[in-house]
Symmetry: C2
Subunit: 358 residues, 2 copies
């Protein structure tokens, strides 16, 4: 990236983009409707304030989903020489909105960096926020190849992995891999409100995993879900049909085929989860060993150091704490051919292996 | 535990119980309807074959859920001096079944160790399988205190944490914390079958977490879900009512209150997930920092060693790989008061911090 980049919205995403571009020497012009947020972001080094004579080549709109189309339309009008992009999580509605306003959509090219949103504001901004994350770019009928290249350069400069999709393809995709899982997890977590303390005390890693994202922000998610309502409801209706079938089968266990319905629901889940790519895009094909680690500083580091000494490459690691016990269980994924040797080496060094599975 | 323990069913759970008790010097009598499985389990040292003159004090039935009541009834009849327990995942139905057969239920006390089931058979058995896991014991009207103590001793000898619940309380609890999450996750993963390769390529940690347990065994789960159908369908119907409400709100966004319905679904999920106890039963109250770790052997170990050197206690660790990038992101949970110092120390040593959140 060279030239001036104007970033509108100095929250987590906007300030992180600013910080990363500033680190590359790009002239970043920051703007925010809140004077306090803008001051803070400038103080943190995410860019400078607007000056007369500014002529940005690229405008990045990083405001909440509900405000994105308004701000993009304004920026298109204000900067007739600039390409305008945005970073909102839903894409087709913004383009349709701009079309209906008669905006110069030939200079609008939407994008969506799939990066963290845990805590907002410029204080939480990080130049590294986009490292290794997919950055979806959504060309439409009026998009020119050089515009696509400009956004790809932006994504690459920020350490992200550019992915090209149409706006509809993007919205259907994120409905399936992000928006529907968020709702499903939130609704599941809500069921725990009815559980006794003793019941939640039985919670294992499965429940923790399935409900982890249920702690996400309602303010942000209501905007995302509303903006992607058609794709989300399509997937949710399909989900509900499957759910109805299973509930029906469990309610009528004497009916022929009811067990098969339940078994197929689980088996189809096996097939679905196998489609998620693992580390570096490979399909999942690791063996997991579970090692007991005493809850003392340095114990996990010692384990990982020793695994490194055996020359075994650890593909994934997950630490699980046992409720009520003073140790954790480290789930370590390795290539299947390394599993037996690693278990033997670890046991020889006195580590307790609490499980192995393919 | 002293005296003879008879274990019926030499699969993962039965053989693991046998191995753990043998390690404590207990005389373990193994039985399995499969001659091959029994031979293998005896070869692995999980116990010995039945001999004439055996007089077990305790019989542990560790057969598939569908067969449990039959086998418990047989064992109660064969060993009139023994307490008989089982390790099946659902409890009320077995007791009701035994009552209806006229079995001597005064000598039956059901239990449920909440331990791994990833891979079956005696080959996968581990004496450490139950370490730190809850082991639910379900006394009923005819249960005597000394029977409860005997099973508590069994659980403690195996390193588990005994928890007392009525059979109904157990079944409702595991429906909420285990059986419903399993189904919800399987049904969600099935939706991915309709997704394009490009769409699943956008999968982030949220999707991976919510669908991790969807790789569970259909054979086992159809039995568990069928056995706990009343409690599971009750929770699923409540879940479906919430789902219907959200689908309705997203389909009718012009209706007054529709945004509120969606926002509350997410907010209620926040409340639900906050009920899950964290490490050692504490409520979750950690800050998370995300550190970039190059994909080279020993890098993660170096990070953890340095965290240990700073005197910061790591409460939890999760490693996430970035698709298409040659590094991972280590999510490290620490006490909130340690967050700022740890970030400063790590940055001073050249680690890249990719995020912080409370």
């Amino acid at each position: 990236m060279t030239g001036q980049v104007r970033v509108v919205g100095a929250g987590l995403l906007g300030s992180s983009i600013g910080l990363a571009l500033r680190a590359k020497g790009v002239d970043v012009i920051l703007h925010d409707s809140s004077r306090g947020t803008l001051t803070l972001a400038v103080d943190y080094g995410a860019g400078r304030r607007t000056e007369s004579g500014d002529a940005p080549d690229l405008v990045v709109v990083a405001v909440p989903p509900d405000e994105t189309a308004d701000v993009v339309a304004d920026e298109l009008q204000t900067w007739p020489g600039a390409l305008v992009t945005d970073v909102a999580s839903v894409k087709a509605g913004i383009l349709a909105d701009l079309h209906s306003r008669g905006s110069d959509t030939a200079r609008y090219l939407g994008s969506h960096p799939m990066a963290g949103r845990e805590r907002g504001g410029p204080i939480s901004a990080r130049a590294d926020l986009f490292l290794g994350r997919p950055w979806v770019i959504c060309p439409h009928d009026d998009s020119a190849p050089e515009q696509l290249r400009l956004l790809e350069d932006l994504a690459l400069d920020l350490g992200a992995v550019p992915v090209e999709m149409t706006p509809d393809e993007h919205d259907r995709s994120v409905a399936l891999v992000s928006h529907v899982p968020q709702l499903i997890s939130s609704l599941l977590a809500h069921q725990l409100s009815a559980a006794s303390d003793k019941a939640v005390g039985l919670a294992g890693q499965g429940l923790r995993d399935t409900t982890r994202i249920a702690s996400s922000s309602p303010d942000l998610w209501v905007q995302i879900l509303a903006a992607n309502a058609p794709a989300v409801t399509e997937a949710l209706r399909s989900y509900r049909a499957d759910l109805d079938e299973v509930i029906g089968a469990l309610e009528n266990q004497q009916a022929t085929g009811s067990r098969r319905v339940v078994a197929e629901a689980i088996a189809r889940g096996n097939d679905g989860v196998a489609r998620i790519p693992g580390k570096h895009g490979q399909a999942k094909q690791f063996s997991t060993i579970v090692v007991m680690v005493n809850d003392q500083p340095g114990e996990l580091a010692r384990l990982l150091t020793e695994i490194g000494e055996f020359g075994v490459n650890m593909e994934d690691l997950h630490l699980e704490h046992s409720p009520g016990a003073q140790f954790g269980l480290a789930e370590i994924a390795v290539l299947p051919e390394a599993e037996k040797r690693l278990v033997a080496e670890l046991e020889a060094r006195g580590w307790k292996i609490a499980g192995e599975h393919a």
